[in-house]
């Protein structure tokens, strides 16, 4: 493998700067002592983090986001496991059609999903509630759960399950003791990817949020519509630092490339 020349390295530095700059600037601005947006030139201050502590609605939205992401990811994985086992290991009429239906949310703009769900919940008279938000997140994250569970389900050796059955294990026992442990890596990484997708979702959520139930990205977005001040920088900085922490852990445990580029590639 040949080395990168100086020109390539200069280009690389520029791209890295381009990638990191907006993320760093948010973290730096969050520590400004001033009442307006500025890079902290006159010393660092936790003023805006203290202000944030007096705004319980941000903490409430953060908790709502966590709950919603956990609930949507868990439901998506529970639906994805049987579907992935069916699709990944059987040939049956309509298999391709079902698979494309399951993957279709990837092709639908989140804006359209938000509008469609808003229409569904108002037209049927159910009304917009936390259920609408949950439904939307479930649809958005399901393809990610399916994809990762499917990848691990395809590789299973059927003989291991047959051995369990021939030794007298019931179908449920075989699933619980043999199949599930075998697809567990896909289930766990699928759940994590779903959680991250759900936690970041904003476009669809804007349409089905209520003042009572609003996710953190939506609250931030609505706040920014009126004014951009160091308070939103403080919230974003906390989000960024939390994400970076999770990212480092994920990279150590799973390998980021496997999670994002897809398994089976090096």
């Amino acid at each position: 493998m040949r080395r990168n020349g100086p020109l390539a390295l200069a280009f690389h530095c520029f791209v890295v700067l381009f990638t990191v700059a907006p993320i760093l600037v948010v973290c730096v601005v969050a520590f400004t002592p001033n009442g307006y947006l500025s890079l902290p030139t006159s010393g660092l201050s936790l003023r805006w983090f203290r202000t944030l502590a007096e705004r319980p609605e941000f903490l409430q939205s953060f908790l709502d986001s966590l709950w919603l992401a956990a609930l949507a990811s868990t439901t998506a994985v529970c639906l994805a496991v049987p579907a992935a086992l069916a699709i990944g290991r059987n040939q049956f009429a309509g298999r391709g059609l079902i698979l494309s239906l399951f993957q279709s949310p990837l092709m639908i703009p989140h804006l359209v999903l938000g509008i469609a769900l808003l229409r569904l919940f108002t037209e049927t008279g159910i009304g917009i509630s936390a259920w609408a938000l949950f439904s939307g997140h479930l649809i958005v994250v399901f393809p990610f759960a399916l994809r990762l569970v499917l990848t691990s389900a395809v590789g299973i050796d059927r003989q291991i399950e047959n051995a369990a059955v021939s030794l007298g294990a019931a179908r449920w026992t075989t699933f619980r003791r043999v199949t599930l442990p075998l697809i567990l890596p896909g289930v766990v990484s699928g759940w994590i990817l779903c959680f991250i997708q759900s936690f970041d979702e904003v476009t669809m959520s804007v349409f089905v949020s209520t003042p009572q139930t609003t996710t953190l990205p939506v609250r931030l977005f609505l706040y920014i519509q009126d004014n951009i001040d160091p308070l939103v920088a403080a919230v974003s900085a906390i989000l960024i630092m939390g994400t970076v922490l999770v990212m480092i852990v994920l990279d150590r445990v799973f390998g980021m490339e496997r999670l994002l580029v897809g398994p089976g590639r090096s």
Partner: protein, 300 residues
Amino acid sequence: MSAVAATPGRPATTLRVRGTYAPYLLSLPALAVMGVLLLVPLAMTLVLSLHSFGMYTGISSDYALANYVDVFTDPYFGEIFLRTLRISLCTTLLAAVLGAPEAYILHRMSSPWRSIFLLVMLGPLLISVIARTLGWAMLLGATGVVNQTLIALGLIQTPVEFMYAETGVVVALAHVLMPFMVISVWAALQKLDPQVENAAVSLGAGQATVLRRVVLPQIMPGILSGSIIVFALAASSFATPSIIGGRRLKVAATLAYDEFLSTLNWPLGATIAVLLLAANIVIIVGCNRLVERRYQQVFQ
């Protein structure tokens, strides 16, 4: 894919006999959810787009293509759709110009740096879009770092208006979507055999020739499928154009949002949503042959 059929010398398993209906039964819960929460709402949106709307009468229950005629004939909408197209094309170009060479440079790095910088490039995907866009709003302001740097370098005299302008939206969107381009090109690079490059060099090809004649043709599918993804996501992007572009610089997605939540003309908003969906499907499925092989790994 079919592990069942590939087992020789053994009678069909019980699973396979049951297999005639078991796969449907196993897919049923997910199918039901998709049907109720995806297909039904989409159909309802399509129906909604055919209704008409009056300021005092609200949404009527007639069926007509009037909204579509409006959108296609009114120059106000034409301008917004043209702007959306322009922003998406520029974003795709910028993401490709930055992302594709960067993926190649990463590919050529040695062991520890390669995975560190791959994490730096792909990591932002996991960071909230709002936080990333906010960073650009701070960088691109009239007194922001970018303008200050450009003035200090003597490249410009007065601050450039990036905020509430298409340039700012393009830069921020390219940043948000570039990881998809890197992923796509990276996947293509993994299939590259380094011996082919070495062969070209040993046959006397210069660095530029190797890049142009050997590497580029092989990673072109990656660049193209990455471009399709970036373009489709840029065309329907909402949060970034909304924050950087503000209320006045509307794109298709922010227009639909305003029709729904400010003007309350739901049928018109639904019409724009249906058109966005149709455009998205045409872009992605239209380039089907190219994308189909990849989009499972790449489209996320």
